[in-house]
């Protein structure tokens, strides 16, 4: 027991903020693995058991991890792998092959990738194989070590599993699952997918070789759990260099999650999506506002971040249109009201616009047809209107039928916010029938 006083480290505030940013950014942006995955204990145990049986006892297995986007599937798998590799035998023997449906779009590419990840390129050399199955069998055979009777266990992780089901004949899936069923080599096939109906995508022969073991990540946190999650994500760990600063920071986080306006904002986010990824995006926006001048996350930050997340993108685009383009949109809205959503073309829109100009005698917006055509084409490039069919060939441009991709309420809301909107145009928009 040392009687020496432990020197309390006090870093300057700038240095503290830098450290905070670094730690939290790795947590929020780089998907750092938590020590224990929250709310997924049963799934964690189940998967760990399964993989341990393959790695240590040499049993073949296949399992699918299913859950919506941002539910934590990859995170769960990585946590399980980390815990699995703490065991010495698993660490010594287990080989891992990570495939991703987005990258390996073809079975041929996938096979090359498997060869590469098993470090067997030299062994394969220039051999030509008759079929996929032969190739795979050769690879697994080559993994047999000297005196062992069976080859080393291999873990195949297939990310975006549903994309593999779209390959020709589903050869890769068939062969992997075949190996996992037969006694060739201890193989574990773990598929990760966001589609709940993934089994429907598999062919009959593939489905029958699959063990139908699925781990569902359909966690349903309650709002207090969600708030607790927010708090943990923002809190600094105990080993932060400046203990005093960390204490102040964690105290401010605690007041944040108890503040009424912040709770309202978080409730709104919770109601729209419960996955941790959208929470991370929100917290990242708050974190970006932390600086030396303001070394804590305040409720105002949360409000501002929420406003950014929920802003309507189309309304923002409507805000930047010129007055002529806005008039054309209002004319289209009137056409939609009168003709109940039937498609229109430029001539009809121009006609409607001319009716408005005739009522008001000002000639300020009296533009020629080509100028109006240019404005119309700009709206088409912004994809606010869309042609009905893409047969652009035999129809003149001004007669091509289009649909408006905006809602009535979006237009009216945009009009309210439009800068210096002329009053006669506003009144024209509000009138029921032109």
């Amino acid at each position: 027991m040392s009687k020496r006083k432990i020197q309390e480290a006090h870093l300057p505030i700038g240095e503290c903020i830098t450290q905070v940013q670094e730690i939290l950014r790795v947590r929020l942006c780089h998907q750092q693995l938590p020590d224990r995955p929250e709310g997924l204990e049963t799934q964690h145990k189940h998967l760990l058991e399964l993989l341990k049986r393959t790695a240590v006892h040499g049993e073949s297995n296949s399992v699918l991890i299913v859950g919506p986007r941002g539910a934590g599937k990859t995170m769960l798998l990585k946590c399980v792998l980390r815990d699995l590799l703490e065991e010495k035998e698993a660490q010594k023997n287990l080989l891992q092959v990570h495939l991703n449906g987005l990258l390996q779009t073809d079975d041929r590419i996938a096979l090359k990738e498997i060869t590469r990840q098993l470090h067997l390129e030299n062994v394969v050399g220039d051999k030509v194989f008759g079929s996929f199955a032969e190739n795979l069998a050769f690879l697994l055979e080559a993994l047999k070590k000297g005196d062992r009777s069976s080859s080393r266990p291999v873990l195949f992780v297939l990310d975006e599993f549903d994309l593999f089901a779209h390959h020709k004949n589903q050869t890769l899936l068939y062969n992997l699952l075949d190996v996992s069923q037969s006694a060739q080599a201890p193989v574990a096939v773990v598929g990760i997918t966001c589609r709940l109906d993934v089994l429907e995508l598999l062919e009959k022969r593939v489905k029958s070789r699959f063990s139908h073991r699925q781990i569902h990540l359909l966690s349903n946190p309650t709002f207090p759990q969600y708030l607790a999650q927010v708090r943990t994500q923002l809190s600094l760990p105990a080993d932060f260099p400046d203990a005093q600063f960390a204490e102040d920071w964690n105290a401010s986080v605690k007041t944040l999650v108890e503040d009424k306006s912040a709770v309202d904002v978080l409730q709104r986010h919770f109601n729209s999506s419960k996955d941790f990824r959208s929470m991370h995006m929100l917290l990242m926006l708050c974190l970006s506002r932390v600086s030396v001048a303001k070394p804590a996350v305040k409720p105002a930050d949360l409000l501002e971040a929420s406003r950014l997340c929920f802003s309507d993108a189309k309304a923002n685009i409507l805000h930047g249109l010129s007055v002529l383009e806005l008039c054309l949109i209002i004319a289209m809205k009137h056409l939609n009201d009168v003709y109940e959503g039937e498609p229109f073309n430029l001539q009809m829109v121009h006609n409607e616009f001319k009716k408005f100009l005739q009522r008001k005698s000002n000639s300020m917006y009296n533009f020629e047809q080509p100028v109006i055509m240019k404005a119309f084409e700009h709206l088409q490039q912004l994809e606010l209107i869309r042609p009905l069919d893409s047969s652009a060939a035999r129809i003149q441009r001004e007669y091509q039928l289009m649909r408006l991709m905006l809602d009535h309420s979006q237009i009216m809301e945009a009009l309210q916010k439009y800068p210096q909107c002329p009053t006669d145009i506003k009144q024209w928009a509000m009138s029921a029938f032109s």
Partner: protein, 445 residues
């Protein structure tokens, strides 16, 4: 003003230079800087920046990345007809040409990720690497796996890399149907009228005063602002028309402060510019030449669409008129218009009650060759024999794109056509042959 941009991790004078080059975009630059964080920190894997054209998205990104000397790769998706070009560009910018040459012939995304991982294990990122993709809406038309993979590139290559997508189109139209990693959305709002004035005034040629130039910009915005808010177009128009604006000043007729006279001089000129240069009917070179020529010598400025007014032979004109009548009159009304003795036709049956839109709004309808010839013979005043020369004139009208052929090339005995000319054009033609076309049109009864 320039001192508003402050961030630890970047030198203050560099930030000041950045702020000077980005007027009216301080808020967005500050937001981007705070998201980027210090160079060695991680940033959000993908950021999506959307806003109108010429709202400064690419400009802000370029200035920031260049002045702060951050490792970056800028790719324009218009140039990347094949994805291999995209991969090559990225590897070249980050790791040099040796890495880029490691890419196989027709590189796939798998090869790219593999080579990237190899390279970054040799040279890991000390600062965040940025990949900026302009015109990102074209990524939707490439392979379906490219966009989702790029959005999670940080996770796939396990490196400190951030993808920034710039586009005009909102994110809702990008989302793949099974979902993807959602990027952080950032909006670059359009410039207000005051901001446009401020930015356009920066183009002032040094020999003129500030107030003079800003009065010019005021007049220009007064004419064009309600039609076009695109900064690039407005800058182009401002540059083209300034010499005309200064003309009375140079001739000594007016002083700098005489805004009313200057306005009277330039306003018709700007209105004409709207119909020609703005629509790209004439090129900028032609426009400048026209300005330099004397007013008396100045003939009519031939725009692009003037070239469609060809001189047609006599019978071709009548064929075209007949085609127009066949396209825009319904077939049941031919009897009333073109027969000498059509008998009694009740007007109530004739004008259908629930016709809401005139044919001129819906567009031309296709008609068979026989109908065209029938109308032609009744419209032409002299007796015409059906020789090959008449039929060949129909084909040449199709070549001139005044008629379009609707039926397939195989159908030789019953070809169908549509008339592709506008009302003004056909009125001009019928005036030259003294034919009153309006009397024969159903919509104008």
């Amino acid at each position: 003003m320039a001192a508003l941009l402050q961030h630890p991790g970047y030198e203050e004078e560099r930030l000041q230079r950045v702020a000077e080059q980005l007027p009216c975009r301080e808020v967005q630059t500050g937001m981007l800087l705070s998201l980027m964080g210090q160079p060695h920190h991680y940033s959000y894997p993908s950021i999506f920046i959307y806003g109108h054209r010429a709202s400064g998205k690419s400009h802000v990104m370029h200035v920031l990345l260049k002045e702060l000397e951050l490792p970056h790769a800028t790719v324009s998706c218009v140039e990347c007809v094949s994805v291999a070009l995209l991969f090559e560009q990225v590897l070249l910018s980050f790791f040099g040409c040796d890495a880029a040459s490691l890419l196989p012939r027709s590189a796939s995304l798998s090869d790219f990720v593999r080579i990237y991982r190899q390279q970054c294990s040799q040279s890991p990122a000390k600062q965040t690497r940025y990949i900026v993709m302009e015109k990102a809406e074209l990524l939707r038309d490439t392979d379906a796996n490219l966009l989702p993979a790029l959005l999670r590139l940080q996770e796939l290559v396990e490196d400190n890399v951030t993808i920034i997508l710039l586009s005009e189109i909102v994110w809702d139209k990008f989302r793949p149907n099974t979902g993807c990693f959602e990027p952080l959305l950032l909006h670059f709002p359009d410039y207000s009228k005051g901001e446009l004035q401020k930015i356009l005034s920066q183009d002032r040629p040094p020999s003129y005063s500030d107030e003079f130039y800003s009065s010019y910009i005021n007049i220009l915005l007064g004419v064009f602002y309600s039609v076009c808010r695109d900064l690039r177009e407005l800058r182009h128009l401002a540059a083209l028309n300034f010499s005309k604006f200064c003309e009375p000043l140079e001739e000594g007729k007016v002083k700098e402060t005489d805004t009313h006279k200057l306005w009277r001089n330039i306003e018709p000129h700007l209105k004409k510019a709207m119909q020609t240069v703005y629509l790209r009917e004439v090129s900028s070179v032609q426009w400048e030449q026209m300005q330099q020529m004397e007013e008396k010598e100045n003939g009519a400025l031939r725009g692009l669409s003037a070239h469609t007014h060809v001189e047609l032979p006599y019978y071709s004109k009548f064929l075209l008129i007949a085609a127009y009548l066949a396209s825009y009159n319904p077939a049941r009304t031919d009897k009333r218009f073109f027969l000498k003795h059509h008998g009694k036709i009740k007007k109530t049956n004739f004008l259908k009650k629930n016709e809401k839109t005139s044919n001129h709004l819906l567009g031309p309808k296709p008609f068979p060759l026989d109908r065209l010839l029938a109308i032609f013979y009744s419209v032409v005043d002299s007796r015409v024999a059906p020789t090959a020369s008449i039929f060949s004139q129909i084909s040449s009208l199709v070549t001139l794109q005044l008629l379009t052929q609707v039926s397939h090339d195989d159908q030789l005995d019953a070809p169908k056509y549509k008339c592709a000319v506008s009302m003004d054009f056909i009125c001009a033609i019928s005036r030259t042959v003294n034919f009153e076309i309006v009397k024969y049109l159903y919509d104008f009864l």
